[in-house]
């Protein structure tokens, strides 16, 4: 019996819980509303004072919300419905930023109406943001540079696509000209190639009230082309002291522009088909100078310059005669020394101080080399130690590539 009672009670509970839910209120059932604002776009900075709303079927006193949505977020304004009308005060809102905003009217979490509004930029104002690169390009037209501008209005909004931006361009040695470019995807840009003349390309740009600072592109010379070298001054004797002054002509690039100051040029000296000397130099006004020291012995030089591994100049042949006219030397028994001198040069005077003098003393298979420098045309070799005792020696004196020999008998 009790069991049946339990079943009955459960059955009743089941029946009661299966009752219909209250019907969900739909918009249709809630009522409708309309935003009374029909503008599709405004200019940046324009004010919207009030937006009115008309409703139908919504109870008076209902709180309506107007959501103002832009890319930064949503602002919610509220107003109470009265006589099927409501007004939203938008005076405090700034509509300065370009882009799309949407007004969404809602009530009780239901969207009643929407309206999109586009904020358009004004015309260009003040300083245009510009980006230039590269600022340095080689002459000749193979390299490009580009100036990109973002023209903005006074609120920082990029101007409308299609707005015209005027570029003023002046190439080196030419008159300036203007080119009109339309803004596209927020920016306007211009690409330039260099021409054949070095110098500065000056660019300006302006749009309505906006303009950029003057921009400069340096057009720099290209690679050096073939050039010539010449001897400016030289002394044709191998004295290892005087200098040979070699100079290039004005080195230019393939367009005739003088190459940049400081361009490295190497000067080489060949003797007996081998490069024996290398000197660094640099151009000033396109000309490189070098000062080579004369060789120490009679020889022939081939001198040339190059600015890279293959851009080689002409060769200059320089023949150096021996600077030594005569050599005298003798053994001083008392001092046990070999006195050398006078050593005279081609012009009749004593050789320069510091001229290297070598004395080779041989006895049989053994050989001793002594070195000294001439002072006032003379020098002395002291025969120290036990190496130079009694006996016969062969002496060979070398100065400036010249050799003189003698026999020495020490008793």
């Amino acid at each position: 019996m009790i069991r049946y009672l339990y079943i009955s009670i459960l059955f009743a509970v089941l029946l009661l819980s299966c009752g219909d839910k209250e019907p969900i209120k739909t918009t249709n059932q809630f009522g409708s509303a309309e935003i009374l604002f029909d503008k599709e776009n405004i200019k940046a900075g324009d004010k919207i004072n009030i937006i009115d709303v008309k409703t139908d079927g919504i109870v008076d006193g209902e709180e309506l919300n107007l959501l103002v949505s832009n890319k930064w977020g949503v602002k919610v304004l509220t107003s109470q419905l009265k006589n099927d009308k409501a007004s939203f005060d938008l005076l405090e809102l700034d509509f300065q930023e370009r882009g799309e905003i949407e007004f969404i009217l809602t009530a009780e979490q239901k969207v009643l109406d929407r309206h999109k509004l586009e904020i358009l930029p004004l015309s260009g104002d003040s300083l245009i943001e510009s980006f230039l690169g590269p600022k340095t390009i080689f002459v000749g037209g193979e390299e490009k540079t580009m100036l990109t501008n973002v023209t903005t209005d006074k609120y920082g909004n990029p101007i409308l696509d299609g707005s015209k931006v005027n570029y003023s361009i002046r190439f080196p040695g030419e008159k300036s000209y203007t080119r009109e470019v339309e803004a596209d995807h927020l920016v306007s840009f211009i690409q330039l190639k260099s021409k054949e003349e070095i110098g500065k390309i000056i660019i300006g740009a302006n749009c309505d009230k906006g303009s950029i600072r003057e921009q400069e592109i340096r057009v720099i010379p290209g690679y050096p082309t073939k050039f010539r070298v010449e001897v400016v001054e030289w002394f044709p004797y191998a004295d290892s002291r005087q200098t040979v002054w070699i100079r290039t002509d004005v080195i230019r690039d393939s367009f005739g522009n003088v190459i940049a100051d400081g361009t490295m040029v190497s000067f080489m000296v060949k003797a007996n088909s081998k490069i024996i000397n290398e000197y660094k130099s640099f151009t000033v006004g396109g000309i490189a100078n070098v000062y080579l020291e004369n060789p120490p012995t009679e020889t022939s030089w081939e001198v040339f310059a190059q600015s890279d591994n293959e851009n080689r100049s002409n060769s200059i042949k320089l023949d150096f005669e021996s600077n030594i006219e005569s050599i005298a030397f003798d053994y001083d028994r008392r001092k046990h020394s070999v006195f050398v001198g006078p050593i005279t040069s081609k012009l009749g005077q004593f050789v320069n101080d510091g001229t290297e003098v070598s004395l080779i003393i041989s006895k049989g298979e053994s050989e001793i080399l002594l070195e000294n420098e001439a002072l006032d045309g003379f020098c002395e070799f002291k025969l120290r130690g036990n190496k130079f005792v009694q006996g016969t020696y062969a002496l060979a004196l070398e100065v400036g590539g010249e050799r003189s020999t003698k026999r020495l008998v020490i008793r």
């Binding site: 200098t243 940049a260 400081g262 490295m264 660094k280 000309i287 080579l292 060789p295 851009n311």
Partner: protein, 1005 residues
């Protein structure tokens, strides 16, 4: 009582006047004063902040007990940092004298204690610590410890709780000033005091000291053991808790460092200068009375002090015997500076020094001298003692005149102005040749340095892996120091290091050849070097923080303890004054007999040793007494640029005039002439032409900032009478052809910001990075080391400064190491100029294996876990307006089988101070090795110098990988996008030599 205490008050007054006055003149020349001022500056700026960014990329100041620094910081709010330091210094002097007096009262009678207080004023170890070392915190700790000892004694002797509290408070204060004083003080000061108190308690029971036996003492120990253990536990708790953040830091951030050499560990017989500074000077006149000191210290009552004194005497001898190392253990021996033991030993000896002085002036020694000898002997002895004490003190204070301890004072304002200008503080800086004044500069600027003056907190591996105290005096650390410095200079971008303030020309070659550019010289004579293209510090820097409660402990506890101690002392004083309590002397005056003749013999012996050794050394160290002395003195004079002295060593009869000599010396510069330090010489002789003549062949070893050099010199010597002289050598014969030279020169100038604004640089003022190209590069292996070599060309039309770096990868693309080219590259390139480069990968994790020393001549190769097989080379370039010198060449080159000889010539108008030649080795247009050499002497205009380059064996070089367009990056872009029409032009040479050089005369513009 009045007449009895007058010497103590006199000591206080004399101490204050003597040290207080002198400190004004000496503290800036001490080693540590500025370091402590720097720490004080930190607290003055931000009391509770424990992280300091200014040194070593940041360090924690809980690495040093804070009390003294905080006191100076507080005083600095009123009188400034320097005067704050001096003010506290004067307080320490008074505390110290008081401490000596009260400590002495435990061991000797009151009169002797007063003499000890007077002696303390002129105690040479104290004078040295204050006026030479500037160790204010450790002297504060010592002074406080000495004041704590009587409290400990009174507590244990009389079981006085108030003295226990006083003792604990003063020990706590000691710990906050210098924890090491507390740690070692417990062993060497407190234990003897505890022993003394127990002995006196035993004597109280026995009646007299003569009746005392060991078993009586042991009984006392047993009875008081719980008290002593309680005291130990409380002391330990105090030691840890009051500076808990210090222990926390040392436990959680241990720094493994190579031991830094210190003179106190030397053998004082082998290194006499260390013996002088760390043994003879601190002991001073006390050495003349050692038998008296030890005899009294080892009396029955004083036995524990005697043992402590003997142990510290032994430990203070450093490496003279192996015993200190055996006792301390290798680790402790190499970490501790042993001069502290000598200092403490002299403190323990002071009471008996006072007793001796009492005996001399009014005791048994006085009577002995007067009665047995005569009045004049007594006066003479008095004069000797007083004169000796004063002479030692004055000598120590003026030691800077004999051997300069610091560079000349540097005015820091121009440097701080430079750092504040144009936001230069956004990069790190480094000082060279500033000595300890670097700490004063750091205290005066907010800019950060990569170096520091407190080596315990070094964290950078380039420093901790080397026994280098700091970078700024790297040349005095030998090649280890220079090796550490080289790493910082080669890869400065790692630490955002951009500016170097140099006070020492020695480093100029290293700075130049590692790519630093001379900027300007300031009004104070300091040269500024700049490294281009280094990024500024990020706005957020890493730091280590500690829990806030530790910051509170660190900021509050030390000053709180100080206030408590002051209040306690004040209260005690008022209590005694109010209740008219007088302090009783612990030890009665006793005129104990002594065998004074033995002491006199010892004094005589020491005097003979002192005078004899001084005379012996003076005589045998005379410059001309032997050929060896003459040559060593001559090279020493040349090394220290004492050219007039060097000139005097020549035979007066036929030497050149001083003008001629100076002219010839100044003619030629060069790395050895101006930028080297003599490391050693080796001399051999052969007979000269005549009797009494010798020809000396001298091999000299020189250290330069770049490398070591060996030079050979032939000197002729002649003996005239008892002295040797140098004979003059010949004049330079070679003279250039032109008297007046005209050459066209280049000049560039970078305006920088054309508008004077401090905001970001405007885009129009930023120059494009110059176009450079990597002609070729390769990863090569030579023996077991890896290198990246290559060739770079500036293909732009602007002069370019380049930074070349390379990264190595293993076969799994794991990055192994990254490093920059050091000096094997020409950093400044003119348009179209080429340079070879070689990057050597140096280890910064160098471990100090036994007997191994850093030698840049032997390459210290990097040890890799896996062999590198790939590499990326990166070149950055910026426009430079540095004045470059390129008017040079090589001539008369002869290629032998194994060497290239020739001459480097300078045909321009400026001297090449340090000529440098690089040789690039090529195989089919591919560079596979780069080598170099520096010439020893500079090359004046229109002159030449010979060179020799050893050709390496090509077989030793193995090319591991070649560079291609993808792994050669130029200004962030792969080489694929760089066009260089001259890149593939054939170079038919197998070896090409690139001359380069440092022309210092351009620095003046």
């Amino acid at each position: 009582m009045k007449s009895q205490v007058r010497y103590y008050h006199l000591a206080l007054i004399i101490g204050l006047v003597f040290h207080g006055t002198l400190m004004f003149f000496t503290f800036e020349k001490t080693y540590d004063a500025y370091v402590h001022i720097f720490f004080a500056d930190h607290y003055a700026e931000n009391w509770f902040e424990t992280w300091n960014y200014k040194w070593y990329t940041g360090f924690t100041i809980t690495s040093y007990p804070p009390l003294v620094h905080q006191i100076i910081a507080l005083l600095s709010y009123v009188v400034g940092l320097k005067l704050g330091f001096l003010t506290w210094g004067m307080m320490v002097v008074l505390l110290f004298i008081r401490g000596v007096y009260r400590f002495s009262m435990l061991w000797v009678d009151q009169r002797s204690a007063e003499y000890a207080a007077l002696a303390a004023v002129f105690c040479s170890s104290f004078v040295e610590a204050i006026h030479v070392f500037g160790q204010l915190p450790s002297m504060t700790g010592l002074a406080l410890l000495l004041n704590a000892c009587p409290e400990i004694y009174n507590w244990l002797r009389h079981r006085s709780r108030i003295h226990f509290v006083k003792a604990v408070l003063v020990l706590a204060l000691t710990t906050t000033a210098h924890h090491v004083s507390t740690i070692f003080g417990m062993v060497f000061f407190v234990f003897p005091v505890l022993g003394l108190a127990l002995i006196d308690r035993a004597v109280d029971e026995k009646g007299s000291i003569d009746e005392l036996r060991v078993k009586d003492f042991i009984q006392q120990v047993w009875k008081n053991l719980p008290r002593i253990m309680f005291f130990g536990a409380v002391s330990l708790f105090i030691l840890i808790s009051v500076v808990f953040p210090y222990w926390y830091w040392s436990k959680t951030d241990p720094i493994t460092q190579v031991s830094i050499p210190h003179g106190s560990r030397d053998s004082f017989i082998e290194t006499l200068s260390s013996g002088l500074v760390f043994f003879l000077i601190p002991w001073g006149m006390m050495l003349f009375f050692l038998p008296y000191l030890f005899k009294n210290a080892f009396r029955k009552r004083n036995i524990f002090l005697g043992l402590s004194l003997a142990l510290m005497f032994l430990l203070g001898t450093g490496g003279t015997t192996p015993l200190p190392k055996m006792l301390l253990g290798e680790t402790a021996f190499n970490i501790l500076t042993l001069d502290r033991f000598t200092l403490w030993a002299t403190m323990l000896a002071l009471p008996f020094w006072g007793a001796f002085l009492r005996d001399l002036f009014e005791g048994t020694f006085y009577h002995y001298l007067k009665d047995i000898w005569s009045g004049w002997v007594y006066r003479f002895t008095q004069l000797l003692v007083i004169g000796g004490i004063l002479a030692f003190s004055l000598f120590i204070i003026n030691i800077g005149y004999f051997r300069s301890l610091q560079p000349e004072t540097i005015e820091t304002d121009p440097i701080t102005n430079f750092l504040n200008k144009s936001k230069h503080y956004e990069w790190r800086y480094l000082t060279l040749g500033f000595g300890d004044q670097m700490a004063w500069l750091a205290a005066n600027t907010q800019a950060l340095s990569v170096d520091g003056n407190y080596h315990s907190v070094r964290r950078l591996p380039e420093m901790t892996s080397r026994a280098v105290e700091r970078l700024e005096n790297a040349k005095y650390q030998g090649m280890e120091g220079i090796g550490a410095l080289q790493q910082f200079l080669t890869v400065p971008d790692k630490y955002n290091l951009k500016y170097i303030f140099s006070n020492d020309k020695f480093y100029d070659p290293l700075l130049y050849f590692t790519g630093w550019q001379y900027l300007q010289v300031l009004e104070n004579g300091i040269a500024i070097w700049e490294r281009p293209d280094v990024a500024p510090l990020p706005s957020i820097l890493p730091r280590k923080t500690i829990p806030d409660y530790q910051k509170m402990i660190w900021g509050i506890v030390p000053i709180t303890v100080l206030i408590l101690v002051i209040l306690m002392k004040l209260f005690s004083f008022l209590y005694r004054q109010y209740f008219k309590i007088e302090k009783r002397a612990i030890v009665k005056t006793r005129n104990l007999p002594d065998v004074w003749s033995i002491h006199l013999i010892w004094i005589g012996f020491m005097a003979c040793v002192f005078v004899g050794s001084t005379g012996f050394m003076t005589y045998y160290n005379q410059d001309r007494i032997s050929p060896d002395n003459l040559i060593k003195a001559y090279f020493h004079a040349i090394d220290y640029k004492q050219f007039e002295t060097a000139h005097q060593f020549y035979d007066p009869e036929n030497r050149k005039s001083i003008d001629q000599f100076m002219l010839e010396i100044s003619l030629e510069d060069g790395i050895l002439a101006s930028y080297a330090k003599l490391d050693g010489i080796d001399i051999s002789y052969k007979k000269g032409d005549q009797k009494n003549e010798l020809i000396a062949k001298v091999k000299a070893d020189w250290i330069t900032a770049l490398m070591t050099y060996d030079t050979e010199h032939i000197l002729k010597l002649k003996k005239k009478g008892n002295y040797w002289h140098l004979l003059p050598d010949g004049v330079e014969k070679n003279i250039p052809s032109d008297q007046f030279i005209q050459r066209p020169e280049l000049s560039f100038f970078n305006q920088g910001r054309r508008k004077a604004i401090v905001d970001l640089t405007e885009r129009e003022d930023i120059l494009d990075r110059p176009q450079v190209d990597i002609i070729s590069s390769s990863l090569v292996r030579k023996d077991s080391s890896f290198h990246v070599v290559g060739e770079i060309q500036n293909i732009d039309n602007d002069p370019s400064y380049i930074t070349v770096s390379a990264t190595l990868y293993d076969e799994n693309d794991n990055e192994l190491v990254s490093y920059n080219a050091k000096d094997l590259v020409i950093h400044n390139l003119l348009p179209k100029e080429r340079t070879p480069f070689r990057i050597d990968f140096e280890s910064t994790q160098w471990t100090n294996q036994e007997g191994q020393t850093f030698n840049p001549a032997e390459f210290n190769e990097m040890a890799f876990d896996s062999d590198p097989v790939k590499f990326v080379v990166n070149v950055k370039s910026i426009v430079t307006d540095t004045r470059q010198y390129k008017s040079m060449g090589i001539q008369n080159t002869i290629y032998d089988n194994n060497k290239i000889t020739g001459e480097m010539i300078n045909y321009g108008t400026r001297e090449i101070n340090i000529p440098h030649l690089m040789a690039g080795y090529y195989n089919d247009n591919q560079i596979y090795w780069v080598d170099d050499t520096y010439l020893e002497r500079g090359i004046r205009p229109q002159r030449k110098k010979p060179f020799e380059l050893i050709i390496i064996d090509q077989g030793k070089i193995e090319i591991v990988a070649l560079g291609n367009d993808e792994n050669m990056i130029i200004n962030g872009t792969a080489r694929t996008y760089i066009e260089n029409p001259t890149r593939n032009k054939k170079n038919n040479k197998s070896i090409q030599i690139f001359p380069d050089g440092y022309a210092a005369s351009g620095n003046s513009e």
